[in-house]
Each structure stands twice: as C-alpha cells, then as structure tokens.
Symmetry: C2
Amino acid sequence: MRSEGLEKVTLRRLATELDTGPASLYVYFRNVADLHAAVLDELLASVDLGPVGAPGDWRERLEAVLSSYVGVLMQYPPLARSALLTRPSGPCYLDLVEALVTLLREGGVEADRAAWAVDLLMQVATATGAEQATRRENPRDGDEWDVLVAAIENADVGRYPQIRDLGQLLLSGTGTTRMRWALSVLLNGILATALPVPAPASPSEINTSEGERS
Amino acid sequence: MRSEGLEKVTLRRLATELDTGPASLYVYFRNVADLHAAVLDELLASVDLGPVGAPGDWRERLEAVLSSYVGVLMQYPPLARSALLTRPSGPCYLDLVEALVTLLREGGVEADRAAWAVDLLMQVATATGAEQATRRENPRDGDEWDVLVAAIENADVGRYPQIRDLGQLLLSGTGTTRMRWALSVLLNGILATALPVPAPASPSEINTSEGERS
DNA sequence: ACCTGAACACCGTTCAAGT
DNA sequence: ACCTGAACACCGTTCAAGT
C-alpha cells in the first residue's frame, strides 16, 4: 500500500507523498512513534524466517534469522533506531519472536528461560542493527573512528593501563565476526544460566506476580 | 562549568542558556552529535567506579559498576539514546572501559576476549538504559504495555503456538531481575566462548588486519 | 461528523553581515 | 579575524474553521 521506498520516515514526508496536510495522518496514528511502529512491522515482513523449518544446526539457523533481521534494520536507519525504543507488538514482530522461541526450544532451552532469552537476543540484534545503520549513513564515521583509535593509542599509561595493554585488540575484528562471537556468547550463556528462583509470594499475590516491569 | 540541570539537551536550549544565538555553539562543536558526546562524557564522571578497587566477587563488582552506569543513563533520556549511536571516546568513557577490563581480567578472562567483551557488555547496558529511560519519560508506556499483553494473550494459536504456550512467561520479571539475569548470561557466555581464530593473513597484510569495521 | 489548512512551537545548520 | 543575528529548511502536534 504505502511501502514505497522511504529513507526518512517522517509524518510530513508521508503526508506530502499522499498529497495532503500533515494533520490528516493523526486519523490513523496517534503520534509519530505509532507511525514508526507500523512501518517497522511492515518492514519485518521481509525478514527471512525460512531457516526455522529448515534442517541443520539450530544455532546456525538462529544466527541466520537474526542476521536477516539485522540486515533489514540496516536498510532503514531511522526505523532501526525507533525499534530500540519502541515496544513492538505487530504481527511480523510476533512472527520473529515465534521463530526465535521455536529454535531455542528445539535447542533444548526450557520455556521460562527461552521467554527471557528472546528479549535479550532481540535487544542485542536491534542495537547492533541501529548502530551499524547509523554509522553507515554518517559520512563522518571515519573521523570518529580515527579519534577513537588515537584516544586508545595515546591513552595515559597511568590512568588507563589496561587499555594501553589491550591496544589494538579493542578495535580488532569486523562487525560481522564480532556479531557472530556475540551471538555465541549469548547462546552459551543462555544454555548455562538458569532463571533466578522467583521471590517467594504468598498465595494472595500470585495473580499480581507480573512485577513492576520498570 | 555548564553542568546545570539539563533535561532536554539541545543546541538552542544551551545557546539561550548562555544568552547567545545558536550559531555561536558551532565554534565549540561541529554538530549536535558532538555536543551530545561532550555532555555524555561529562555525565559519565558520576558513574561509581568504587567497586573496582573494593574487595569481593568480581562478578558482583562488575554488576555494581554497570548498574551505576545504567542508572546515570536513565536520568538523562536523550543522552542515553545518543550513547547508543555515538562512538564515545571521552576520558570518562575510557575510565569506564578501563574499569570493566580490569574486572574481567581479574576474573581470569584473557586479554583478547576481554577486549571484545567490553563492547558487548557496554552495548547491552547502554541499550537497557536507553530503553528504560525512554519508557520512563513516556506517559503512554502503560498503554503500550497493555497492547503487548493483549497481543500475546490473544495471539492466534495456529500462527503463534510457541507464544501462546509461553504466555505470561514472556512478560514475567522486573526490569532489574531481567538485567541481572542478562548480565549473568553475558558473563557465563564470555567465560565459555573463545574468540574465533583470526583469518590467516599473509605477513604482508598483518598491519592492515584491523578489518573493515563496518 | 469527519477531515484538513494554517498556525504554533520547536529543531539543526548555514552564511552574510557586523565588530 | 572572530563572533553572531537572522534566515533557511525542516520537524511534530494542535485546533479552529471549513465541508
């Protein structure tokens, strides 16, 4: 419907695209965050969930799904950024969650742990996508990188002995290899870390045990 | 110097605060990202690095430092958001990196692994801070939560069997307990996951082995 | 009743004109 | 030479006035 190539997703741009004033969009969206969420979910439809049903190692398939997700985010920097702050609940987002849970459970992760693990995996993937998308669209990124390199190389030995010791190790690796390693860390950690035992609750407060969520 | 209580850090607001026009700030900062980075680093000075030199379990001390960091981010939502996309290189940021590396090494993590681990820990902590800060300042967050609860409870059983199966488990736990678990996951994963063997490089390209970093 | 033009209150950035 | 007022090109949101 309105899935034309949008680079800067903004209320006004979409309004002029539709030959109307910006006020009209408030009939469909209560604010700009709502609009972003809607476009984002539309976009998540293009994430490749094929690996879920495919044969092969569940870890590799999970990595494939998350890579596809990150790739989609990187194509639309502003949406990638909004994905970090939004609480998505669209159908395609749920498809993605469903896929990740399926793969985790296939890997032997029990239900409660898988539930929390999905959030963590999505958080890291989304943050990675938003970061890389922003850097990619920022032409001055090279400069910032150089500044960081210089800051590390010239770091005061007295104040930053560890940093001086690590040196280039802090900057080593490509984005892809780092993300592959991060995903391994997460999966190994998830497999090794049980959920905390829930705080003992008296029977009367069992139904409010969802917590403050803040 | 200019560390007055700033809630919305914006070029113009700071300019009027200083009784001048917005153009004047371009003498000190080349753009608004630069300004954010500067203020952020100023803010990072208030992160409590005391636990680094204190006695006790290195994991708990690392958790204390990161909690302090997240707490600082949550006090300034716009800066928390910019921290996700910026490539910080200020002195206080380096202090924080130094602290984390120190604790990781104390825990027996070897140098190269610690170098990558710091980035991952900071990414998760920063994302958590930015998320929670944004939610806290958004009064409609309750509504979005309700929408998500409803979406999960009423999810189509055919399309989302796993989600239906998990149900409230997906929403269980407070922000704090989730973050404590996430940190355990990360530390367990870091301890369990060696870096990939670097791609074999001919001697001639050893000096360019920093990678594309994209 | 529904839609929307125009206005409001902001942004970041640039650049010519001042001192 | 250095600083900056004013202008430019955008934002998101509201609201009164139209149909």
